[in-house]
Symmetry: C2
Subunit: 463 residues, 2 copies
């Protein structure tokens, strides 16, 4: 019998977790399926693979990444640590709890570089169209090799969609915005705070992007930052120079008007108005149609598309848990594909989905949302052999983090947490976050190393 | 026998010309095929349908338009006039030779609003994938109704690709650009000069976009404009405040370095580095693969894809002639589909293509290029009953325009040309172009009207 074939769309944290899961099974001596991963970009990492480009890439495909310069983790790294590859194992020493993007990207890559995972990935390859044959129970995937401009088709028994959901902007219209004279961009196209130096910046939105871009621009020298919220403000203790106002109603030239009747002139606008779950390569009956939330409908255990469970979605939830959630999902997905985990009937799956949907509906506070996703992670961990970790402890850290942010949005990244994987307490970083304008890995790791080598030199001279 | 089905991709000037051509045949009493046009946007006009959006649209599809505020025709309108619908017929009075975008868009719409062309267009509908069945000689087109998020397939006997080739940016990498602190955008995302007021702007490129965006930004208050060319400068007499420099080699922070060893600091960069012919919805063997030039290979008479002539491309040439060329092409395409114009054998078509390719290769001057495209238009006109017009006279106007621009890039738009369709001499516009900062249709048509009504009033009081 031929080996089953598994197609994975996207080599970001979720797709790489899926590849890692199959490698883990192989290392345990199991004979796995044939796995191929398709990645539109020329390197792995998806969102974490920063690009200066906006709009479209080298080959004219829409840019995937929404990543910007000066992005530092906005949650403790101890809440996203791989339970099978610790930060200690990667960096060989304790680091701080809130590293910048290049450091996190380095960490993601460290785990997969240990294996031959890269061999399974076809880079510069985008998926054009997918169809499913009920009779053969196979997916036909039309692929486009962007580098050589060549299309071709392949068949798969399982399809894993790991293409993320923070790539396609949701961009509402505000009356008069077409006449606003300054720069108008969506957070997706934001590449760094520098261009907003000395400007009065209006940010529309009240979620993570709005909060983080607002604070970054404040830190890097914007003259003022105004955040406009739809239903409720972020509500933390803002420093002077950042404020929240109710919903933007319209523009008149460079003046923005808000729901409370106030108005103000701005130099630039960043729309942090969220993203769409968008799967243009899938027929609509296979598309996950959902708003961003902690438990999208139609996915059994948050991953198996109920109408067609050979179609698996990874990482489609709104996220407290990230890398470790993708792992926990990928291990369950793998076990199902390899026949170690059997799915119940469609009706039973439906009942289970409904149970989680009802539970999700019942809560509104951030703390309750943390508990909800914690329960989901525990459920996933019970279904596979992904190394267990102290999820309750992680939930506590999330709640502490929520408090820290509320207390002081400018200093919460200076706090230190303790790893549930290794027990290591994070270092206090050499520079306070508000004073640190350089986000390179070299700078991040520099001072400590130089102090160490200084200590070595002192020892040598003392001999 | 069932009616033949024709699918048209795109409702811009080319797609609309195709619809108009079929309407014209119908009006002449001919029984035409069933025609369906698919348009990604919610209105027709493609490039001429200005949108404030950049990146992706309401439904997450890449934005088609590269149109910006304050765009005025950069060639005399007498060189693009429809020979079956004059400017006089539309505006009922003479207007100037270089109208702004809203006025040209109004003109394009005037002709098609006379018919029921709109009924044939499915808006908010994008083409996902096309395949061709050799046996049935039919195209299967997978469509996506963006408004209701629904995909479906339809079959067509002919497919007309009229999706343009100024939508997908070509964006080269320059060393250090990822660290340039200011705004970096491609011309595709340029929406107006206002945001560059008082800034030192670097424009990379030496074609129409570079020239026009540079001059617009100068006109609307940029502190300085530098144009960097690859092989040869635009070379017109630039005013103080605009200059041309050789190719950009790299950036160091906000300083750009050029091939002649000079360097300068900039606040923002606009890459006017051209566009890709991009057809992601077609299998690569059906894709027109070409650089932007006056006679792309693989197209018989510039339109019939030689490997599969039921696949028709409109408007894929680099353009002196625009609207009238699309018309001339669409009429030939129509006659072929309706069996009035028979294609020769593949080999004969190949020989004809080769002849044109060789001819195109032989010339390098702008004047010779005008003559080349003029010969091509004459060839097209000889193949259908599209109303003939004095192409030689239009060629002369193009050459005069080239000279005008070289003489004074700031005043060439104040010149007046004579229509070859109606013989009407264009009005001198009420305001010199350099002083006219408002590009609305109302403003463009305003003063004259008010003077007329003033004259009327004077007459009345005199009675």
């Amino acid at each position: 019998m031929n080996k089953k074939r598994v197609g994975i769309i996207g080599a970001g944290p979720s797709g790489l977790a899926q590849l890692r899961a199959f490698e883990a099974a192989k290392n345990e001596g199991h004979d796995g399926p044939e796995v191929v991963c398709f990645e539109k970009q020329s390197n792995w990492g998806e969102m974490w693979n920063y690009s200066w480009r906006t709009g479209v890439g080298q080959y004219g495909e829409p840019i995937h990444g929404s990543m910007y310069k000066y992005l530092w983790s906005n949650g403790p790294k101890e809440c996203l640590e791989f339970s099978d590859y610790s930060f200690d194992e990667h960096f060989k020493k304790p680091i701080s709890s809130y590293p910048p993007r290049p450091v996190l990207f380095d960490y993601i890559q460290g785990r997969i570089k240990k294996n031959n995972v890269r061999d399974y990935i076809r880079f510069d390859t985008t998926v054009r169209w997918v169809s499913f044959d009920e009779e053969t129970q196979k997916f036909t995937v039309v692929l486009d090799n962007l580098k050589i401009d060549k299309t071709y088709s392949e068949e798969f028994d399982y399809l894993v969609v790991a293409s993320g959901h923070f790539s396609t902007p949701n961009m509402p219209y505000f009356k008069g915005i077409e006449h606003f004279p300054g720069q108008v961009m969506h957070a997706h196209d934001f590449r760094g705070a520098d261009q907003f130096k000395d400007l009065n910046l209006l940010i529309v939105g009240s979620s993570y992007s709005a909060e983080d871009i607002g604070v970054q621009c404040y830190k890097h020298g914007a003259k003022s930052v105004t955040l406009s919220y739809r239903s409720s403000p972020i509500g933390v203790a803002w420093p002077e120079g950042i404020k929240e106002v109710p919903l933007l109603t319209h523009f008149e030239n460079d003046t923005a008007f808000f729901k409370d009747g106030t108005s103000e002139k701005y130099d630039a606008v960043v729309l942090c108005t969220g993203y769409q779950h968008k799967f243009p390569f899938l027929p609509d009956e296979m598309r996950l149609k959902t708003k961003n939330n902690l438990y999208p409908d139609h996915l059994y255990k948050g991953i198996f598309f109920n109408e067609l469970p050979r179609l698996i979605y990874l990482g489609m939830q709104d996220q407290y848990y990230t890398f470790n959630m993708f792992d926990a999902q990928a291990w369950v997905s793998r076990d199902c594909i390899m026949g170690k985990y059997e799915l119940p009937s469609k009706e039973e799956r439906r009942l289970d989905i409904n149970k989680w949907l009802a539970e999700n509906e019942a809560h509104t506070s951030n703390e309750a949302h943390v508990d909800f996703q914690t329960a989901y992670i525990k459920e996933l961990l019970s279904l596979s052999n992904y190394p267990n970790f102290n999820v309750e402890k992680v939930a506590e850290m999330f709640k502490e983090w929520l408090k820290d942010k509320e207390e002081n949005i400018l200093t919460y990244r200076d706090k230190s947490f303790k790893s549930v994987v290794t027990g290591t307490q994070a270092e206090i970083h050499h520079t306070e976050w508000m004073d640190e304008l350089n986000d390179t890995k070299e700078r991040y790791l520099y001072q400590e190393e130089s102090e160490e080598s200084l200590a070595d030199k002192v020892k040598v001279s003392a001999i």
